[in-house]
Symmetry: D2
Amino acid sequence: MTPRDADTLVMARPERGAIALDRRALPAIGPDDALIRVRRAGICGTDLHIVSWNAWAAGSYVPPVALGHEFCGEVVERGRDVTRLEPGDLVCAETHIACGTCSQCRRNRRHTCLDLRVFSKLGRGCFAEYTVVPQQALRRVPPAISLDRAAVMEPFGIALRAVMEADLRVESFFVVGCGPTGLFAVAAARALGAGRIIAADPLPFRRDLALAVGADAAIDPQAGAYDRQVAALTQGEGVAVALDTSGHPPAIRDALACLSPGGTMFLIGLPSKDVAFDLARQVVLRETSLRGLYGRRIDETWMAAEKLLASPSLRIEPILTHHFPLAAFDEAFATAQSGQAGKVLFRFD
Amino acid sequence: MTPRDADTLVMARPERGAIALDRRALPAIGPDDALIRVRRAGICGTDLHIVSWNAWAAGSYVPPVALGHEFCGEVVERGRDVTRLEPGDLVCAETHIACGTCSQCRRNRRHTCLDLRVFSKLGRGCFAEYTVVPQQALRRVPPAISLDRAAVMEPFGIALRAVMEADLRVESFFVVGCGPTGLFAVAAARALGAGRIIAADPLPFRRDLALAVGADAAIDPQAGAYDRQVAALTQGEGVAVALDTSGHPPAIRDALACLSPGGTMFLIGLPSKDVAFDLARQVVLRETSLRGLYGRRIDETWMAAEKLLASPSLRIEPILTHHFPLAAFDEAFATAQSGQAGKVLFRFD
Amino acid sequence: MTPRDADTLVMARPERGAIALDRRALPAIGPDDALIRVRRAGICGTDLHIVSWNAWAAGSYVPPVALGHEFCGEVVERGRDVTRLEPGDLVCAETHIACGTCSQCRRNRRHTCLDLRVFSKLGRGCFAEYTVVPQQALRRVPPAISLDRAAVMEPFGIALRAVMEADLRVESFFVVGCGPTGLFAVAAARALGAGRIIAADPLPFRRDLALAVGADAAIDPQAGAYDRQVAALTQGEGVAVALDTSGHPPAIRDALACLSPGGTMFLIGLPSKDVAFDLARQVVLRETSLRGLYGRRIDETWMAAEKLLASPSLRIEPILTHHFPLAAFDEAFATAQSGQAGKVLFRFD
Amino acid sequence: MTPRDADTLVMARPERGAIALDRRALPAIGPDDALIRVRRAGICGTDLHIVSWNAWAAGSYVPPVALGHEFCGEVVERGRDVTRLEPGDLVCAETHIACGTCSQCRRNRRHTCLDLRVFSKLGRGCFAEYTVVPQQALRRVPPAISLDRAAVMEPFGIALRAVMEADLRVESFFVVGCGPTGLFAVAAARALGAGRIIAADPLPFRRDLALAVGADAAIDPQAGAYDRQVAALTQGEGVAVALDTSGHPPAIRDALACLSPGGTMFLIGLPSKDVAFDLARQVVLRETSLRGLYGRRIDETWMAAEKLLASPSLRIEPILTHHFPLAAFDEAFATAQSGQAGKVLFRFD
């Protein structure tokens, strides 16, 4: 029996914290859709922005908004044209859906497709017992991957993307911001042969998590400028690669000064205002680079994530700090916002 | 008979325009040095900064300063340990001299050597009948290369470096600033298979030079923001690669917005103050990159420059707009600063 | 009025030269198909193999075989799900159709898709007034590209692929075999900034074509071993890159010896028997590489071909030596096999 | 007091096994030389070839030959121009000494320098209490590296070179031949994030070592063709990268068939005769590559080796199976040739 409706967590009104469980009718299962019974779902920074109803959220969404886009679950039913999946398959979702024909897609840059559709804008949500997902977004989960790991494939992927682009083998790596993305980057870098890994975060809880998943040192911005702290930890050499996940302008500017000549800083965090750089001294004369990263290469990053998440050499379990049932959504969101958490997951049994 | 002294153009005192020809004793020829009779020498932006005695020059040099570092000339005499050159050889100079043993050199990044010595700081100058140069800086000029081309090997090299790093084959290219470096970049990009080339400069004289050496279009900042002009010239696509040679903050910021998603902006120009960017919208979400470039890869860039300057498919002669005898140094510098010149050369007969 | 049948050139029986024009019913236009009125179609080496009915053809095809897969034409009618094309559009075809979901496709290697479908095996042919083509294979031709150039997009693409993989900028290039693929490679290399280009072919007619489209020298195997001839033309240095389009074992082995240390030989030609190499001396100690190439990267190569074929800096017209009406198929095939031709095209008016 | 002579192991006469300890005068310490007290020295395959006096050795050396080139030791005395080292420094040697000015060196390919000098041809040897080494070959050993690890920097480097060129992160890797080079490659690949690692060797002792340093499986050629065994271990996918260290023609040919489309086989082993390939089926149509590797990139590989050998994440100790005093040279060589050893070291106390 196909369910017709499902408890779904929604941002009900355009005001801070206006979330509630809603028994909603499921959308019709289109020919290219699959109905998914959700097993695990993770709270993303995007969800936190929506629930806080900040300026970005107000400019991007119209309530009611079904929340959640990081998940794994089982195929329950499938549309007419769904040929690659079977009922019972465990799946997760590459939430970026490319058109396949624009100039970016033709260049094999599907992740910056000019007509990109994003699951979180389809009005479906995954903080729900069931959800409906286009086949094109779904990926079967390899058997060696646990439910918890499958649930974080998507956010792990963006961190892995940075690590894969960087080629950190034997190289030093500086990760700014130890939220889930920064922590996943530390863990991936450790598994993929990085040299010295230094993480930075103002919160001791997060610094401890960074050390638990492979950082060699975890520094506190209150202990002094990053460039002096990093110099002290690298015999004055600086790092080959930095990654900003914080979006915090002073941190970004300071991290740039930690690079050795020829080094690269990858940027994933989204600063809410302009960031000013001393390009002459910090970029041109020292030949450094700043590289923005958005999403995952489709499907290279996902394939790499499948392989790495199936491997015992990757250590991410300490990052998955909390599990809640959907009914405890208030506590789950409060935990995710507390600074005393890594990735917070909903568990559906 | 080895000359003992030589007319040499020097910045005599720490004040704007204080240049004069000085009959100076040549430095002793050390075991690793060669005495060079200069044949052609080019005025670089660095020379203009010194002669204008701006803040950067005042912070970097102590008068008297022997001017000039771009040149070609003939080997007249050589020190005891100079084995790779013969008297009569035509040579030019890679003015960056690397230590060979620091961590940057060991990474094959000699151009950002941590102990880099620079010819222009050795007190020798090439706006002179004769000069003394360390063997390590000298490169024999292949026979197919004219004196004029040999004289610009060094500044051409920095432009070529950007073009080689970029891989512009069939790709669109936006060059900001049509001084000699920007013009050399246009010419190199055209010879190396670039797609559409768009140049920008406020001065009509320079825009005309850009068109003469291969730009498809040359735009004026006064005609509107770069991003709108470039969009109109690229069917809305933007460019894959931009190169800033201007160091002008508004131009750099505007050029960044001309990139297609995934595009790269190379930076050679040295901004005199901080430049602020909307990293979220222009860099992270669109996956663009900013890459500083300094100098030439040693010796890959020089080898590539030798091959390209020996080829008739490269068209740079329109850039070499003026030749002066050394005695006309006042006119030469005035011309170089006028905005009505490309590269200005001293010719020694 | 949609045509129901069309004159189509077929290999009628499994015997050498058994080709004939057949008035055949067109296949039904499926939901993803477009009916195309052919404007130009080129004879490929594959067509010659089929018509000669050699061992490879006999093992790969079952007569009757509709011939031809290189073409351009106009969309006449389209199936229900064809959304990206309009009647009247000029199109050509990327004849390799990838599944999109296998491990090679997920790695962005669609051209070596594990379930690759090839137009030439669909039983449709393009040596015909009309043909029916899956939308996925069709690409709209940019307006700046002539009918003749549009017709050779596919074979030009494989040559361009090699040139793009190689990065020949300022580097020397040795092309073995001056059939259409080798000649297209010479032309593309010249347009994309190659240094010295040396071509080789036993036939004077083809060597002349190579010189006409940009080779600096064209050598004859009967004049001596390639390695000695190439050494003489490169001051003893050898070449950085070689490309074999001949599939001729002695030529391949000899070309390998023409490489400088660190050089690469790309292989497109298909040898009909094993090729033996002195790996120790020619590959390991000199750090050379052998790289097989098959097809075009989908869709990067096609995009690059569109840009380059739209550019006047590419010179390929001398390669398109002959045009025939379809009725003159016997003469067209004889010409293509004569060694006195470049690419032979059918023209439909 | 500087020693004047030293016990040195030499190949005394041109006949199999003619090795003996010889009390020889040390060569004069030139201005660029350092006198080294040897602490550890490893037996290389080259030493085994010389001692067996096979055709290659007879064609390459003239007895008496001082044996040994892999070592670490302490600087005892230094020539006039040796500025980068101090007496007491622990050093090891990059045994390839490049000219710095040939076209290969200028391309940053010093390891294939056209005038390469090799320590093993300088007549000095390191199976000796003391030896004299040009400063240019010496590298200071970082403090975190043990004597044993320092002694194998050079042979470890060649294996690491292959792993670094390959970029094995999350990718499958097939290593053919489990002598020291193959075993080092397994260990380096494991530390640098490789996916599944499969090793092959006919000797059970060596297969066990491969498993001990990180291989997931170790296969025996007698158990069937490599391609079938590898397919069974990779769900039919094959491997992305293979490395041959055996030089055994049937093994090389068979390993090529283990690659997935687009895969690469690196070749380090030196086959003593030609190897024949089915280029059409195995290389062109499947887009595989064969890449010869010789030596280490100077100095990138050495820097990477320093970093990796200083890291506890690298596990190579099981490979260093035997230590002998120099006087037991007969037993040491017999052990190295027995097939029951990894790397055999001489220890000097």
